[in-house]
Symmetry: C2
């Protein structure tokens, strides 16, 4: 009995700056993590991937490999959060769409949704088929041992639907937008199923140990004003409303990131998430004024800055912090800023440039807090 109780006790969290910033609480420095921080730009990632038969899904479906690569960037860099190594397309794969990653290509579905019958047959997946994800979350939590919090994630209902209809990445979103405009009933049906599936999937990640959740609306920004609200934001709102928001005695913050969604920042800030991610086209100072004390902000360095020499990387990282400003407000409260890129890190990034970025962000953000 005693053993069981000890095993169920959460490990104390040594660095909670990320969780605190998400909730607009004071932090000694601005926390930083990078979208896709465990990835191909790291030689150690490429080595592990080679061991897994050079297969992305080989890595993602093995809790041992997923744990190893999730922790790799934390060994190199002083990052303030870990993010589950996985892919947003695990959910449609578990729905039976048949995900594969061709060599040097993006993801592809063997059975995309192209007709009414396929849409009618769509169901939220049995979570048992995603057990490898929850096993990975548990394994990563054990390996982290309270070092930093672990972020779980999912694609948004719309972004998943785009891939599910297109069957692969797309330049023009022709198939999914054709369906959206021609048969909005079918699109709404897919989005309803996806919203249910995503909420269940994220809650199961929290049950397994995820300490924050992020919803990637990677393709929300391709929609027209008005259409975005009805076909993407409304369904992300449903997901957020259905999420378990507390675990291990702490709030589980939810981050929503719509790439290219700067025009809708205030609307996105109103759907119940704790944090809104923004890309690099957004002025962080203006965004902070726009969202007020409703949400924290995450972002927003252009990942291409990391191709420049380390001193430029450091300077541009500082510029992002300065755009947001010191997080203390005049009234004594705190606004939240989680430093990140405005998109996933490029595979062509020199790893030592990330070192320069993380150091500069931490150093300058401490200095910002000392100013009168």
């Amino acid at each position: 009995m005693a053993v069981a109780i000890i095993a169920a006790m959460p490990t104390p969290l040594h660095n909670d700056a990320f969780l605190r910033a998400c909730l607009r609480q004071s932090t000694p420095r601005t926390p930083v993590w990078l979208m896709r921080q465990a990835g191909r730009y790291l030689p150690e990632y490429r080595a592990t991937r080679a061991q897994a038969g050079n297969s992305f899904m080989g890595l993602a479906t093995s809790p041992q490999h997923a744990t190893e690569v999730t922790l790799q960037p934390l060994e190199r860099y002083d990052l303030d959060a870990a993010i589950l190594f996985s892919d947003i397309l695990t959910v449609p794969d578990a729905m039976g769409l048949g995900l594969s990653f061709g060599a040097g290509e993006g993801p592809r579905f063997a059975h995309p949704l192209r007709d009414e019958a396929a849409v009618a047959a769509l169901r939220a997946p049995d979570l048992e088929r995603l057990r490898y994800v929850f096993d990975a979350v548990r394994s990563i939590r054990r390996a982290l041992a309270g070092r930093v919090p672990l972020i779980g994630f999912s694609g948004s209902p719309w972004t998943l639907a785009s891939y599910m209809v297109e069957g692969a990445g797309s330049d023009d979103y022709r198939l999914v937008k054709s369906m959206l405009y021609s048969r909005p009933d079918l699109m709404h049906r897919i989005l309803e199923v996806n919203a249910e599936a995503v909420a269940a999937y994220l809650n199961a990640q929290v049950d397994a140990g995820a300490q924050a959740l992020m919803i990637f609306d990677s393709w929300g920004g391709v929609l027209a004003d008005g259409v975005f609200q009805r076909f993407s934001l409304d369904y992300t709102r449903r997901v957020v409303a259905a999420l378990r928001r507390e675990a291990e005695g702490r709030r589980v913050p939810v981050i929503v990131f719509t790439k290219g969604g700067g025009a809708w920042l205030e609307e996105i800030a109103g759907i119940g998430a704790d944090v809104v991610g923004v890309d690099w086209t957004v002025n962080l100072g203006a965004a902070r004024r726009a969202v007020g004390d409703r949400v924290a902000l995450q972002g927003n360095l252009d990942p291409s800055v990391l191709f420049a020499p380390p001193e430029v990387v450091a300077r541009e990282g500082v510029a992002v912090l300065d755009a947001f400003g010191a997080p203390q407000r005049a009234d004594g409260g705190w606004d939240g800023h989680v430093f990140n890129l405005g998109h996933g890190i490029s595979q062509h990034t020199p790893p030592e440039h990330v070192t320069a970025l993380v150091e500069a962000v931490h150093r300058h953000s401490v200095a910002q807090r000392r100013r009168p």
Copy 2:
């Protein structure tokens, strides 16, 4: 003598709604044209292109072919403007970068700008090398015979620079952004040369008969806030300031279109252009309030709407007009709206759907003007 004078006299313009809307003057209906309206979605275009050896540049460099394809959409649709059939990359080609279009591929430069020596050697081109463009403008004007105005165009200094450094289209703009962040001096030098070249090129189009000018900043939206202003907008401003703004006794309106530039709408509205083009992520009503009476707006239907059935196309076209609202202001003045897509028309567009769009825009915009 009399003959020479008559030949030099401009043909009267039968439909000047486009020019008037650009200048925020009253119009009986909202003018409409479509970016890339002369293009692959039209079977007659494909036929002419086949005659020209299936070569894009074969069409663009032949004034006869360029005239033929420029007029093709006007035969099918009741459009309110024609746009020169050409490509934004004619200018770097004339600088000696060696433009080619591979079969089924995008443009490619044989000699991209990759080092300091190449940048130092860059010069604005001898306009004689672009004579085929000005010949095409003259030929198209003759063929139009005053039916609708002819729009000339160019890429923006930044958008041209992106292609000139990348050497082709790009997903991540790695090379050009690396140069921008690592060697801003080289990037500024390219942009200075481009700004000089673009201004001279556009003025020569006006001399040849272009009645309005459009600057396509197609890749401005990939830049970070702050960087966009210094590396794209500042150079577009220089171009606008150097343009000839009157010809044949009329104002020559200038349209600036930054794809993905919604975040910077008010700044773009302040660089001296008459019209700002916006993509479909922008709410036209909010944009109209933001720009006030400084500029007219052009846009902004998602081109993907044209894949939907004609009745949906018509409905969505009407929705764009309603988002802008009736152009008459409460004070009796007029705000300008030029209906367009938010990006070039897709090659997969069914041509008859365009008919439905143009008719709906004209019909509904007349009705809007009748409301009290």
